[in-house]
Symmetry: C2
Subunit: 422 residues, 2 copies
């Protein structure tokens, strides 16, 4: 590996040796071979869209070119398509510290939040306040706003995410929080907040979009009420992969949600006129599941079969701390302001670097083969997915960032801001 | 083609000659080559799950093994993933007689019905009755029931589908009807009912699950208000393919629905705190779309590029009439009672044959290579997909049914009833 810029003193040699040493000791290092990563790219955006694994690709090939083609409609039974939401849920369960029958894969995070908000409000007939954090990923608030338009009396309050516990009171029905902030990477204390909320009779819905598969979670042990999460980020389930829902078993008999489609019926195939919810988590199903996407997600999740989430978390913290320390030492990188709180207990698996030209820098970095993400107005967002990113990748990425900054290549052309999906 | 049973007099030779003559004249006959059909199977269940086309398979391969693998997150722009709901909607539009910007692909029929029911009720502030047909596919009613649980005052009324217009009055806000009955194949008069409803100020939501891609539709010309439909039946989009929604342009500025996820925001990527609906049909989007399934559906729809829906309809009516006439002539098939109204204006693209042993007969038929469907309690449901079914297929299928009935092979073992998806 040859640096593109001049590093002060013997910093390059020293840091490269360190990166190689850390990679040599990495217990996850062989996992990279499971992923179909493009050549000559360093992918620091797995927190937007995880990459394709060979297992996911094989699963996609199998469902499209073998199951669907050959067995057609009989695949619902022959290949157990009908149980994929439960099967995939059971795969996700250990990743988030949950019992298998508390998790099901279906629909999108937005739609699942809608189901859970109604379910939670139905459990709190005398309370009408939904509280969420300022700077939460917008769709969470939008869904609450959509619900308020037809569910009278419900109101939505936004609080600072660093001051949640102090703002809790007994008027609040539901606290809806994203565990790791999509922009800054700030991570809330799930156990502490859940406990404080419960003491005031508040139910909590956690959005795990930026934590499932990247940080250790103990939903059952932390007595979490409800959660939603994402299949396409750290779980690498493919673009727009199905989301998942968690419901603590203590609410399984009381779940009532309005997206009461036939797949959530107690006897879906009896074709009865009146809706009767299925037992437990199954009542959160709505329409016919998206089998191809679900099968790809199922394949992708096999990568986690022999992985310890604690190892992922440890390496994630190591990779991000390593990047920050290298950035802070290189003279040409001093213009970046680190937004992320580097306290291990307060960050997820990403860092946020502020710079007035963050958008152009992100584009120039992509041209150098390093894919990160831009978040308006000025955030360069860097995600760390320990299953396929090495310490040497991180060092090389920083070297290329230094190159861009030293030569100001990001100023060379006008980059037009285009949309990208979180 | 050699018959498995003895046919009376010269009926086999005569009917085979007729089938061959009809196939020779079939303007759609070459379309069969576009489908990856399994050998030695006659598929009469395309109204449950359409088969894989090579175009759909290629699209799946491309999105999984090329786009996702190579271009990762940048695919949202590079491969226009972000516009797939609109692109696929525009592909479906001509198939259902709609302007391109009135159709969008997203979510499931159940979820889309929920959006439309709220939207339609919001346009009818002084009315609270939702009317639907008895025997409608259950999910449609279940969704209305789910909505009623939290939207006060709304009530749901079921009417006989042969007596809808007589039951309409000015108390009704929304008439929610499935165009072609999933079990019997009975088809409603869309234009006439829509017009009668409009005269009383009633809005109509049509469920096109069993009609889109199989019968001629003129949503714009018939002044239809709203519709939903299915990607995985006659559109052959793959198991659990995304559904679609149609909204007449006259309501585009007034659409308000509660599943207000970020993809339906006027400025999805501005990450604003407050939801502002996008213009027109785009406001029906909710969460991140399921890209792999959407790409497969996009590929599947290219089959329709050079097809005239009138030709599909004509052949569909021909195939089903041919089957009925052959069944009615063969002595061993007289135990079946034809449930479907054979008036061309009153049937979709399927027939329903009642028999006390319909389930076992269906299983035995599948063992003979003919895949049809069973609907409780006693219906053998046979779907006709003119893009890949020939008149000779139909004749052979009837011959095998006669074989089963003659030798009573369906009584030979106990078939346990298993579920299957409509």
């Amino acid at each position: 590996m040859i640096p593109q810029v001049i590093w002060p003193n013997d910093m390059w040699m020293h840091t490269l040796a360190k990166a190689r040493e850390l990679d040599a000791k990495d217990v996850l290092k062989n996992k990279r071979e499971s992923f179909a990563l493009p050549n000559n790219k360093i992918y620091l955006d797995g927190n937007s869209l995880g990459p394709a694994s060979y297992a996911a690709q094989t699963a996609g090939q199998s469902v499209i070119n073998a199951q669907w083609q050959t067995d057609l409609i009989t695949s619902w039974n022959v290949h157990d398509w009908i149980r994929l939401p439960q099967i995939v849920g059971a795969q996700i369960a250990p990743i988030i510290g949950a019992q298998e029958d508390c998790v099901i894969a279906c629909d999108s995070i937005s739609i699942n939040l809608y189901k859970l908000l109604h379910s939670a409000l139905n459990l709190q007939p005398d309370r009408h306040v939904v509280m969420t954090q300022k700077g939460n990923f917008p769709t969470d608030g939008y869904i609450a706003q959509g619900l308020m338009a037809h569910r009278s009396g419900v109101c939505l309050v936004y609080v600072d995410e660093k001051d949640i516990i102090a703002q809790l009171d007994e008027s609040i029905a539901v606290l809806m929080l994203t565990h790791v902030n999509y922009k800054t990477g700030y991570m809330l204390d799930m156990r502490q907040i859940t406990q404080a909320a419960h003491e005031l009779g508040i139910l909590v819905i956690w959005d795990l979009a930026h934590s499932a598969g990247a940080v250790e979670l103990s939903l059952d042990n932390d007595e979490v009420d409800f959660a939603v999460g994402c299949g396409y980020k750290y779980l690498n389930g493919g673009p727009g992969a199905p989301a998942f829902v968690y419901v603590n078993s203590r609410y399984h008999s009381q779940l009532r949600q309005p997206l009461s489609g036939w797949m959530g019926h107690a006897r879906a195939f009896a074709f009865e006129q009146d809706y009767v919810p299925a037992d437990g988590i199954n009542s959160l199903l709505c329409g016919t599941p998206n089998i191809i996407s679900m099968a790809v997600l199922k394949g992708a999740l096999t990568i986690f079969n022999d992985v310890n989430i604690a190892d992922i978390r440890q390496k994630s913290l190591g990779l991000s701390a390593f990047m920050v320390s290298v950035i802070q030492q290189h003279p040409v990188l001093q213009a970046f302001e680190l937004i992320t709180d580097m306290d291990d207990a307060k960050r997820g698996s990403q860092i946020a670097l502020a710079h007035p030209d963050a958008y152009s820098i992100c584009q120039a970095w992509i041209e150098q083969g390093v894919i990160a993400d831009f978040r308006a107005p000025n955030i360069l967002r860097v995600g760390f997915a320990p299953l396929y990113i090495s310490y040497c990748d991180v060092l090389q990425a920083v070297d290329r960032l230094a190159y861009i900054m030293q030569h100001k290549t990001y100023q060379a052309k006008q980059y037009q801001i285009r949309n990208s999906v979180t």
